[in-house]
């Protein structure tokens, strides 16, 4: 990172003596939303590799039908950590904390988020919480009860690991809540004069909806985990049937958060795709207002569908029916978004670069996962496949095939803005091909495994499933290999990539109307007023409308 010397735009003020510059900023308590965004991004990717390594261990164990690669307790620790790391340390922080923090201030025309210090606090909760969680694996016992930590199992497995897990998740949940508060305040209150809500880039609406979910549902998880920890430490009996408690109440409370959690993971990705497609298809986003309504509908519905994770638990039939209908209904606003994205592409001038390829991969994978989701929403269908590899396949199609593909696409799309240089397109396309093939090879067969009798969270299985499991593991290996061109690309291009200039994609949204990387105050001069972030097909060159301050 070279230091950019720019002429001071303010009267010279005494420089804070200990403020780090250059790359050291990224290891400091910086309150600059762009620094924090990239801190979230890199930290998130580091945890992604940890989670990926854990996945590799799982798929290695599953090469054979016997439990022969690691002790059974260790396997349960590995699968618990895999899920927990991927959700709380990779996806949630990256789509919200990384891209949200970097982009939202640009999109609302602000110099920074509403609460920059809070922003930094939210980020710095993550590395220690993550290290705490991972260290539990090395100091004797990590949690073994899955990322869902159902009691009574979580009350009978080694307590220290479970309590560390709870503590870590509480810290990570708090980080998420602080971020959510910041996004809501920034989007609702910090908009540049003259900028209306319905002129904002779609990503803002996506983050607004996501943050509402974060603020409403994460605290319930926090309370639940506190009660769980009471059961472990103080021998209360909230969820312990032996002490008069109710194990299913835990499930209700847990899923009240954890279902919205999947929207917390996916809605920002929806927002990012809505930014990427118009740019690389040179076409306006189709159906802006319907896209907004869809996001709001998903937020509302997302809060009332949690018990579809409990169709085989102790829920009465009328409750199962309600949740089937509510869950099925979510397919409607989601479907609208997909049709709108397809309509955005239709009639455009589509550049098949890495960002676009990953976005199209997202469309394919997510539609696949969405279809299996509608199937799973039906109670009688779910009774057979609940807690089997069918569900594992479904959610990986959504979370990996969906959100992770968008994360990669977004990295390629905003890489020039973050670094000032262009990433290598050949490596990017290679990355896409390997990831797409590897991912589908790994997870498509798992649908069949679940339908035919393989439960989830097992190290041993019926030998008739051996070949299909091996195919799946080869796919996982391919996914691991696909990381190499990606890593080489992002690291090498940061030093030797072609200079990008301000706006290599000739895009219209505010972050492209400044230098790459942007100055600390985001724009030299006042924030541009962009009332048509998707105004393609109208003008040849992007223009900031009404750039004078009121």
């Amino acid at each position: 990172m070279t230091l950019t010397l720019s002429p001071p735009t303010a009267a010279p003020e005494p420089q804070a003596p200990l403020q780090p510059q250059g790359w050291l900023r990224y290891f400091s308590f910086s309150v600059d939303h762009k620094v924090i965004g990239l801190q979230y991004l890199v930290c998130g990717f580091l945890f992604y590799f940890v989670g990926g390594a854990l996945a590799g261990m799982i798929r290695t164990e599953l090469l054979t039908p016997l439990s022969d690669f690691m002790p059974r307790e260790t396997y349960n620790e590995v699968l618990t950590l895999h899920g927990t790391v991927m959700i709380f340390l990779w996806i949630v922080p990256v789509v919200n904390g990384a891209f949200g923090n970097y982009l939202i201030p640009f999109y609302v025309g602000a110099r920074d988020m509403a609460f920059p210090r809070l922003n930094a606090v939210a980020f710095w909760l993550i590395p220690p919480a993550g290290l705490l969680l991972i260290s539990s694996y090395f100091i004797g016992s990590a949690s073994q009860s899955g990322w869902t930590a159902y009691p009574p199992l979580s009350l009978t497995t080694p307590a220290s690991g479970q309590v560390i897990w709870i503590l870590s998740v509480l810290l990570l949940g708090s980080s998420s809540i602080l971020g959510g508060i910041n996004f809501i305040a920034t989007i609702l209150k910090l908009r540049r004069p003259g900028l209306k809500m319905l002129q904002l880039p779609m990503f803002c609406w996506a983050l607004l909806g996501t943050s509402i979910l974060v603020v409403l549902s994460t605290p319930v998880l926090a309370g639940t985990l506190v009660l769980l920890s009471f059961d472990i430490i103080a021998h209360t009996g909230f969820f312990n049937p032996a002490l008069g408690g109710n194990a299913v109440v835990y499930q209700h409370l847990f899923w009240f958060y954890s279902h919205p959690a999947v929207y917390i993971m996916v809605l920002p990705a929806f927002g990012l795709v809505s930014e990427i497609l118009p740019v690389h298809a040179r076409k306006p986003l189709f159906g802006y207002i319907t896209m907004v309504y869809s996001i709001l509908a998903i937020v509302v519905l997302g809060l009332v569908v949690w018990a579809h994770h409990m169709f085989t638990s102790g829920t009465p039939p009328w409750m199962r029916l309600f949740f089937t209908i509510a869950t099925s209904l979510i397919a409607v606003p989601t479907g609208i978004k997909f049709f709108n994205w397809l309509a955005t592409l239709w009639g455009g001038k589509i550049a098949l670069n890495s960002a676009m390829l990953f976005s199209c991969g997202f469309i394919f994978n997510f539609v696949f996962g969405g279809i299996t989701g509608v199937a799973l929403a039906q109670v009688p269908f779910d009774i057979h496949v609940h807690d089997t590899y069918f569900v594992v396949a479904h959610f990986h199609y959504i979370v990996y095939g969906g959100t992770v593909f968008v994360i990669f696409g977004s990295v390629y799309h905003w890489y020039p803005k973050f670094t000032g240089r262009l990433a290598n397109e050949t490596l990017g396309r290679l990355h896409f091909v390997l990831t797409f093939i590897g991912f589908n090879l790994c997870f498509a067969p798992q649908h069949w495994l679940g339908l035919n009798g393989m439960p989830r969270r097992v190290a041993e299985y019926d030998p008739q499933f051996t070949f299909v499991n091996q195919v799946s593991s080869v796919g996982a290996l391919l996914m691991a290999i696909s990381t190499l061109p990606f890593l080489i690309n992002v690291v090498y291009s940061a030093f030797a990539g072609e200079k990008a200039g301000d706006n290599p994609w000739r895009a219209l949204t505010p972050e492209w109307l400044t230098s790459s990387p942007p100055p600390v105050e985001n724009w030299k001069g006042p924030a541009p007023l962009v009332t048509h972030p998707y105004g393609y097909g109208e003008a040849a060159e992007p223009q900031a409308v009404g750039a004078s301050s009121p």
């Binding site: 420089q15 809540i177 309370g223 009471f230 009996g237």
Partner: protein
């Protein structure tokens, strides 16, 4: 208006040479390390400054906090509905002390409101007095809770009702403790030369909002745990 930025953060990697790059960072240590603007405000005028949204942020946080209580209440009500205790297990809670406590807490919201009104009318001393009364009411409430706890026939782990009772009232009590301490801090900071002045009312307003929230939660709690 200044944003909620901190005094210059001291970074662990302290030995960076102070190069003259990006002077517009303006994390410059301005006034005695107190309020420092993060944005390049000097020279950019009113366009750059945005309003003070810290109360809005606090309100959003209180929504989140409220949801934690909501989770507890939901658990309590569900347990009551589907896990009724055996005969004799359901405890009849004494109502006198909790009702007195409720009145005290409601009064304390009133006195806090008085305090806020007073400082708006430049009657700082009256404000400080009302703050003390509020804090006293808060600590009395806590004292009443302690008395109640010690007089109850059940302990934390006796049964599901007991555990839930202590969890919910305890969590609320933590909030009252925190709130009462904050009131004392505001009382101290509103002295002559302190940080809380008519120009910087946020700490007082924030504590007031928090206090009303805690009061509101108690009313719900009283209704659900004691009256229902």
């Amino acid at each position: 208006m200044t944003s909620s930025s901190a005094p210059s953060p001291i970074s662990p990697s302290a030995a960076s040479p102070a190069l003259a790059a990006d002077l517009s960072v303006a994390d410059a240590g301005a006034s005695q390390g107190a309020e420092v603007s993060h944005h390049a405000q000097a020279g950019h005028g009113a366009e750059e400054g945005h309003g003070d949204f810290r109360l809005f942020g606090l309100a959003t946080f209180l929504v989140a906090d409220g949801m934690t209580f909501a989770g507890f209440f939901a658990a309590y009500l569900t347990f009551r509905a589907v896990n009724p205790l055996a005969e004799g297990g359901n405890y009849e809670l004494e109502l006198v002390l909790p009702t007195v406590n409720t009145i005290l807490l409601l009064l304390s919201s009133l006195t806090f409101h008085r305090a806020a009104k007073a400082i708006h009318q430049d009657r700082t001393q009256a404000c400080r007095n009302w703050l003390l009364v509020t804090a006293a009411l808060g600590f009395t409430f806590l004292g009443g809770q302690m008395v109640e706890y010690f007089s109850l026939p059940f302990g934390l782990t006796d049964n599901l009702f007991a555990s839930t009772f202590y969890a919910i009232t305890g969590f609320h009590g933590l909030h009252v403790t925190l709130g009462s301490l904050m009131i004392l801090i505001i009382w101290w900071q509103s002295r002559e030369g302190g940080r809380v002045t008519k120009a910087n009312l946020f700490p007082l307003e924030a504590t007031e909002l928090y206090w009303h929230f805690v009061d509101g939660i108690w009313v719900l709690l009283y209704g659900i745990l004691y009256l229902l």
